[in-house]
Symmetry: C2
Subunit: 131 residues, 2 copies
DNA sequence: GTTTTATTTGACTGATTGGTCAAGTAAAAT
DNA sequence: ATTTTACTTGACCAATCAGTCAAATAAAAC
């Protein structure tokens, strides 16, 4: 068997999901992920293979939820706007999810998430500052 | 007066808009913008001040169109997902636009643009390659 | 023609990016 | 107790990032 893993996949995926949701895919750096998870780069890469692998783990895990929560909708948005047109693998995940949907108002739900995320007309942006 | 500008603002803004629409804000590099416009960094910075200034020029110029075309909708999406929550200046532009809208289905239109951009269920992604 | 002003040029910078890997460590297997 | 296996550690890397600026250039003003 060898050494035991020092982390719980589910927790790590949840921590990474929070980041991807807040900052998007390109907006989230490996350093961000290292800080948020408490793992180091080597562990993250041996577990997920690549940054895209980390995102896909988040997307797959969250898509299992029913009904979809805000985190999952926002991961779908990030996938569709940043990854779907460049990555076959992510495209397939999202396409398979979309094919199963029969609700006619997916677009509306996606759009509502965009509006919610944008913080428009609320004025609570931080002018680029990060904690 | 001094030396004349070697470019037409409108054309440069249109060229930059195409890039921001295709690759998003963070996904578009200064090198990309230099290549697409034919201008060099110094010219771009003396004209627009910053990368965000370049994006804002694109957004402002496109929002004058009526009715909004796909490019403008996509710029709004990019703004809302990548900039609005971190940049007061971009937030104000989008907020002012949004306040003037009285259509009840903005969310739906935004969502349709997300779906259109995602290339889902069409399979024509390029696995990350760039021309 | 000389000076002044505005723009272009592109090499350069320090910071940050995603990703690697040899060495170290902890557990199981023998 | 020793070996083997699996995971962790973090320094390191080449590439890329947004942004700068002194020097060169072109036009207007005189």
């Amino acid at each position: 068997m060898g050494r035991k893993k020092s982390f719980d996949q589910h927790i790590v995926v949840a921590q990474m999901s929070t980041l991807f949701v807040q900052r998007g895919f390109e907006g989230t750096s490996l350093d961000d992920l290292v800080t948020a998870t408490g793992l180091l780069r080597g562990s993250l890469y041996s577990e997920f293979g690549s940054k895209q692998g980390m995102f896909m783990a988040c997307l797959k895990a969250n898509l299992k939820k029913q009904p979809l929560d805000d985190v999952t909708w926002r991961l779908l948005l990030v996938a569709m706007l940043e990854l779907t047109s460049n990555s076959q693998a992510v495209n397939e995940i999202v396409s398979q999810w979309y094919a199963k949907q029969n609700s006619p108002n997916i677009a509306t739900q996606l759009g509502q998430q965009v509006l919610k995320h944008s913080h428009i007309l609320s004025g609570d942006n931080d002018n680029g500052k990060r904690s």
